[in-house]
Amino acid sequence: MSLLTVSNLTKRYHRGDKTIAAVDDVSFHIDSGETLALAGPSGSGKSTIARLVLRLIEPDDGRIDFEGDDFLALNGAALRVRRARLQMVFQDPLAAFNPRATVARVLDDPLRIHGIASRSERPRRIAALLERVGLTADLAPRAIHEISGGQRQRVAIARAVATKPSLIVLDEAVSALDVSVRGQILDLLLDLQRQERIAYLFISHDLGVIRAIAHRVVLLDAGRIAESGDACAVIDAPQSAIGKALVAAAPRLNRTKQDAS
């Protein structure tokens, strides 16, 4: 049985007297330990799907099953417990953290809130989490705004894995990183997936990265699924119009020079 099943998900926004379906009858599933990528142009609905799956917003229609339960029907304590299993990492970790917090505080919160470790045990757990994501324990007292962007995204990943999730939503999580750092973060994500069978919902505009790290891809256009399948197969030979346009637009190092259009 799949870890996450999204069925006929729909989210409409109203602007003036117009109704826009940001997400329109979208269905997909993710298995344990699998990476499913969502790609598409701006406004295709990929970030809205992420927010729906995380229950940061509620859908107008459709169903989300997570770890065997009707996720949209959960509330109160049951939802809180299940939220620990579903974590998120966003593009800009500076915006995702309390800017006045230290690294230790950022990692202490989930351990405390979800009752994972006692007060006396938490410093040791924080040190272990930092080491798990390739940082050293002496980073713990540093302020979040003092550390580099790559370190910050590692802390965001440490925070996400602190509650032992089965699924992490990664919304453009490597897009703002320098290329030399990006490769290291992708390696870290793949290592965590191998070791702990974490599944990823990987949202990105970068088809090169998706092809390198995702098992399957869903291409979205105007809130609807245009095409889906094995990531390499879809990106190597897209069938939909949007898939062809996305592949054609991806920058290439060795493209035959074309004339101005």
Binding site: D31, S32, G33, E34, T35, P41, S42, G149, D178, V179, S180, R182, G183, L186, D187, L190, R194, H205, D206, L207, G208, V209, R211, A212, I213, A214, H215, A231, C232, I235, D236, A245, L246, V247, A248, A249, A250, P251, R252, L253, N254, R255, A260, S261
Partner: protein, 265 residues
Amino acid sequence: MTALATIRDLTVTYRRDGSEVAALKSINLDIAVGERLAIIGESGSGKSTLALAIARLLPASSAVSGGIEWPGLAHAPLGGRDIGFVFQDPSASLDPVMAIGKQIAEVAHTHLGLTWPQAYAKAKHLLERVRLPDPGSALRAFPHQLSGGQKQRVAIAAAIAAGPKLLIADEATSALDTIVQAEIVALIRRLVTEDGMTLLFISHDIALAAELAERIAVFRHGQLVELGTTAEIVGAPAQAYTRTLLDAHIGLDAKPLLNRAGLDV
């Protein structure tokens, strides 16, 4: 090669919290008339500082030594007239409460001495050239009514309104999605060719730079690491750092990092 600008021993230092940070260190670089030159680098490489120094837009708190000469111009360059600048975020560079027609016409009115009716006619023509739909009514539109890509087209129209010799695009497509990015890159290439402008294209993306530029300058930690033709930089880089950047690019032909056999569901 006729130089539009020659940069000699350019050093720029920012003062921050009492300490000094060298953003550019003794840069020597010639920009040829009519070329498309890309400046690439990661965060803190100094690429945006170079763009600001060339456009004389550095903050007053910065200390500059060395200099930039303009053998390709008959006079010292004036920002907006001789140098057009396109920034990453058009929402921040366009005035949110001024109709876009006026924002473009103002450049032509100020720098070319056109009357307002002439300047508006020019603005309409420029909106046609940047392929904004329905340019006549677009003149009266405000930035918030446009998409990100359309706003960047307007910013480009304003940047070229006074007929600059040099167009600087600083991460001008980085906030756009891939499809719109490709359209804007094609637009910049076409406008630069049609108007005989020199292009300085600042980017973190070596593949994007390679698609547009004839020469590429690689920056790191405020220093110019390597300068060469695009074919040299991409095909036979001399410096290890350039090779690192090329290797870090994950193209559509890259070997998947994923061990597919590892997934046993």
